[in-house]
């Protein structure tokens, strides 16, 4: 996989632009890398050039009273989160760190990488994904043009929402140079209700029910028993049964009011274990790092999928897949997102998973597999018809010479 012959680390935007112009003129493809935490996700790169954005770093604007922060794309996420925490604020979408679970380093994400992949975490079910918190970008497309979209104010419908469309494009349309995001107050306290021993069906029902209360649940997760035993908190791991977690975040007085009422509303699902702020933060931090799905050296290799479907059918879908392969599942977003760990196979189970998914609706991404598997099956959900034509058209519009992360998402894109 490491065919990289030349690495560039532009330190300023015009340097990045000059570089991309040259690549465009020569038709030379480049791999775009932020912190590298997701380098092993997507179709394997064959690019002879690597562009690292790490030197485009620094927070350029932070106005806590306006809930806005701008930073150069290569700024470490950790630096941004630390700066925000000093003022009691956060990036509310709680970006997951795929590094450890995909064989890379943890804690190496950049803001640009997070936005380019639209990677989000448990809080997205209540507060939206990374793309929902994106206010504006500066970027360089494959033509070597610097452009901006959006801005630094919270409400803006001036022109097309190009910035948001770059979220989740995995660097295939443009390289971000600066990103502006909405920030929000960090909750004062956290409490987590843990329900043990529920089947996947009952657990997704519970998670949906919790989100259909007025108590502003900000995260839901369900782990199959095989994942519970891998939790870092011994008291939880010892449960050795499926665990379902429901999170409340708020002022202490609000949690004191809401937690008992939420427990009452969900009483048919049993009596939960209640985790206070410290234990809660630890649990949700584990889930954010997907630590229960980090491969263990010496054990049989596994592959990792991310599925998205309607919450109401999630457990049924997983049940169908389970008939075809051995798996462990982590349900996020009340079942709307499912992380599936499956025994390694030549196609990662792609044929079975996508065949079953087709009758439920939704999409599947093969997040972790060896490069040869990722080269031979569709990593991202295959496109068809008009959607494929429009997507190829967008690639033409932004990067006609196909030099930016070509083939990372789809062949020819």
């Amino acid at each position: 996989m490491d065919t990289v012959v030349e690495t560039f680390r532009p330190a300023v935007e015009w340097e990045l632009q000059g570089l991309i112009r040259r690549l465009n003129e020569n038709g030379t493809p480049a791999e775009i890398v932020g912190g590298g935490s997701k380098r092993a996700v997507g179709r394997p790169s064959q690019a002879p050039v690597r562009i690292e954005t790490g030197s485009l770093s620094g927070i350029t604007l932070y106005e806590p009273t306006e809930l806005v922060l701008s930073a150069r794309a290569g700024t470490p996420l950790a630096q941004i989160e630390t700066t925000l925490a000093e003022r009691g604020q956060m990036l509310a979408f709680e970006a997951m760190d795929l590094g450890p679970a995909t064989g890379g380093h943890g804690g190496s994400q950049t803001l640009g990488g997070v936005i380019a992949t639209n990677i989000s975490g448990a809080r997205r079910i209540a507060m939206g994904a990374a793309r929902d918190h994106l206010l504006g970008v500066r970027a360089i497309n494959g033509r070597g043009e610097i452009f901006k979209s959006g801005g630094r104010v919270l409400k803006n419908v001036t022109g097309y929402d190009v910035a948001r469309a770059l979220a989740g494009s995995w660097g295939t349309l443009a390289v971000l140079s600066e990103v502006t995001v909405k920030v929000l107050p960090k909750p004062k306290e956290t409490e987590t209700l843990i329900y043990a021993g529920l089947s996947d069906e009952i657990a997704t029902e519970l998670m949906c029910a919790s989100l259909s209360t007025p108590y502003e649940v900000t995260g839901t997760a369900h782990l199959t028993a095989g994942l519970t035993v891998r939790l870092e908190q011994p008291t939880l791991a010892r449960e050795a049964a499926p665990l379902t977690a429901i999170r409340l975040e708020n002022f202490a007085s609000s949690i004191a009011y809401r937690a008992p009422r939420l427990i009452e509303a969900l009483k048919v699902y049993g009596t939960p274990i209640r985790l206070g702020t410290e234990a809660s933060l630890q649990l949700w931090s584990e889930l954010r790092r997907l630590s229960v799905m980090t491969p263990t050296p010496g054990e049989a290799p596994t592959q990792l999928w991310r599925l998205s479907t309607a919450p109401g059918v999630a457990a049924s879908l997983v049940g169908q897949i389970r008939r075809n392969m051995q798996l462990e599942a982590l349900y996020d977003a009340s079942g709307g997102i499912i992380w599936l760990e499956v025994m390694a196979s030549a196609d990662g189970g792609a044929a079975d998973i996508r065949r079953l998914l087709a009758s439920y609706g939704g999409h599947a991404t093969l997040v972790r597999a060896s490069p040869d598997v990722r080269a031979s099956v569709e990593v991202f959900q295959p496109m068809t018809g008009s959607i494929e034509r429009l997507s190829r058209g967008l690639k033409d519009a932004f990067d006609p010479a196909r030099i930016l992360n070509p083939g990372r998402m789809y062949a020819g894109i």
Binding site: P64, V153, L154, V162, A397, M409
Partner: protein
């Protein structure tokens, strides 16, 4: 008004009118086509009523398939198409042309599916904004975006403009509350983007389509997020002797970690007009009024309001009123939500929609006042303070063409000011024809090229809602480029040389 240039009709199309009407009736059915002058008159303008053009014909299909058939025909016949919801656009987004076909979705207004557990609803887009909430309210849910026109405006229009509302500080705007759409492209192809799951596969096409002002396709169905309503909500009113104090108070509240569900601001002229209309109990002896609403249980609401009163103290509020009943809360909101109508009773006005960084509030309000008085006009200011989205209402006399033109000029100067201080031309109303020629103030040529190439991907013939969003010369250049095919590698080499 006459400052904004509109597209001239194509005479070749006007002379084919009879044939086109016959074709449309054959394709869409007689009851779906409005051809007579009286019928078409209802569609000649939107809420930017100074601009009017009688459309060639109006089609109101009842199904996605019918929309597809009409668009396919218009595409083959080179006919411009203006998508229309309820026609409440304040920026001329739904303005037709003499040679254009209006395709309205108002007859497609059904709720198709409600999934309370999954917290989604699938609806036809001709449904009014408020009807979505009405459909899910029995189960305790609501649809969050709440533009002031929500009684009349359709989801289709909200999708076109990425509409916001007073409560989007907490819940976001349209794009944050829509999971999927069924859209008809100009070719007649029907595409499904996203669905009842948290995100769509591949590129985020929804982001592009929502807020594209009807220029990429006609959305006939959408899957929207529905949210369980809070136990309760209650507003508080704080009056201040200066807008600066009010603005600083908003900043202090946000810095404290409280995000109210809404923070609305009104200046003295706006307070007077709204109070006279709604008898909401607004204080009449203050320069600025904040309406701040929080949600939760009774206990939580009281605690949070008290907390904010404490935060407000250093800014010396002249008055404070915490709503004591549901009835009083409704009155307070009625005053705010009927502001546009209330002002309309005493004067013609021109409603602006810029957004500014909140820290520049005081100087911007002073400058707005100077701009309007320099044109001999009065202004009332109402806006969403939490997110800096201003709505200066410039008063003028529609019977005096000079007054009307001065209002339009003052408006352009105000929007330029918003951009100069780091804000934008439009926070929630859209560009339409109104701000089209100001786009070069906010964007350089490359920024616009990037957007217009996307337009070309979705609608290569530039037939959908033309003459809007992009300055006419820029759009003409993009159309010419589209014809040579920007995806052609030979063309790219030439482009790179030029760069």
């Amino acid at each position: 008004m006459s400052l904004i240039q509109l597209l001239e009709p194509d005479n070749a199309i006007l002379t084919r009118r009879d044939r086109i009407l016959t074709d449309l009736i054959r394709i869409a059915g007689k009851d779906a086509v409005i051809a007579d002058e009286d019928g078409r008159r209802a569609f000649e303008t939107d809420a930017l009523t100074s601009y009017r053009r009688m459309p060639l014909a109006v089609v109101l299909p009842r199904t996605t398939e019918a929309v597809a058939a009409v668009l396919r025909y218009c595409n083959q016949s080179g006919l411009k198409v203006i998508a229309r919801g309820a026609g409440t656009s304040l920026c001329g987004g739904a303005l037709p042309y003499e040679d254009a076909i209006v395709v309205g979705v108002s007859k497609m207004n059904k709720v198709l599916e409600i999934d309370p557990a999954g917290r989604t609803a699938r609806v036809e887009t001709g449904i009014t904004n408020v009807a979505i909430t009405a459909a899910v309210a029995p189960q305790g849910y609501f649809y969050a975006p709440d533009p002031s026109s929500q009684l009349a405006c359709t989801l289709a229009g909200n999708l076109g403009m990425n509409s916001g509302g007073a409560h989007c500080l907490k819940y976001g705007v349209t794009t944050n509350n829509v999971l999927g759409v069924r859209m008809v492209l100009m070719t007649g192809e029907v595409v499904d983007i996203g669905g009842p799951w948290v995100d769509a596969a591949g590129y985020d096409l929804l982001s592009l389509v929502i807020g594209s002002e009807g220029q990429m396709g006609i959305i006939t169905e959408a899957t929207v997020r529905i949210i369980k309503a809070a136990e309760g909500a209650r507003p508080m009113m704080l009056g201040f002797q200066s807008s600066e104090a009010a603005g600083n108070c908003v900043a202090a509240i946000i810095a404290s970690g409280i995000i109210p569900v809404a923070i609305e601001f009104m200046d003295r002229p706006a307070i007077e007009v709204c109070e006279a209309f709604a008898h909401a109990g607004y204080p009449l002896d203050v320069e600025a009024l904040l309406i701040i609403e929080v949600e939760g249980s009774e206990v939580e609401i009281s605690e949070r309001l008290e907390q904010m009163l404490e935060i407000a103290k250093p800014f010396r509020p002249a008055t404070h009123t915490i709503s004591a009943s549901a009835e009083q809360s409704a009155r307070i909101w009625k005053g705010r939500k009927s502001a546009f109508g209330a002002l309309g009773r005493i004067s013609d006005y021109y409603c602006m929609d810029g957004t500014i960084p909140l820290g520049r509030l005081s100087e911007v309000l002073t400058a707005i006042s100077h701009i309007c008085s320099s044109h001999g006009l009065k202004v009332a200011n109402i806006f969403h303070a939490g997110d800096g989205n201003l709505h200066p209402l410039i008063m003028f006399d529609a019977n005096d063409p000079s007054s009307e033109q001065r209002a339009e000029k003052a408006g352009a100067e105000i929007l330029s000011l918003c951009v100069d201080v780091g804000g934008c031309l439009t926070g929630e109303h859209g560009v339409g024809i109104e701000k089209r020629d100001l786009m070069t103030k906010q964007f350089d040529q490359t920024d616009l090229d990037v957007q217009m190439r996307i337009k070309t991907v979705f609608d290569p013939g530039w037939l959908l809602n033309p003459g809007k969003v992009f300055p006419l010369e820029a759009a003409a250049r993009a159309q010419a480029a589209a014809q040579t095919g920007f995806g052609n590698p030979g063309h790219i080499a030439a482009h790179s040389d030029a760069a």
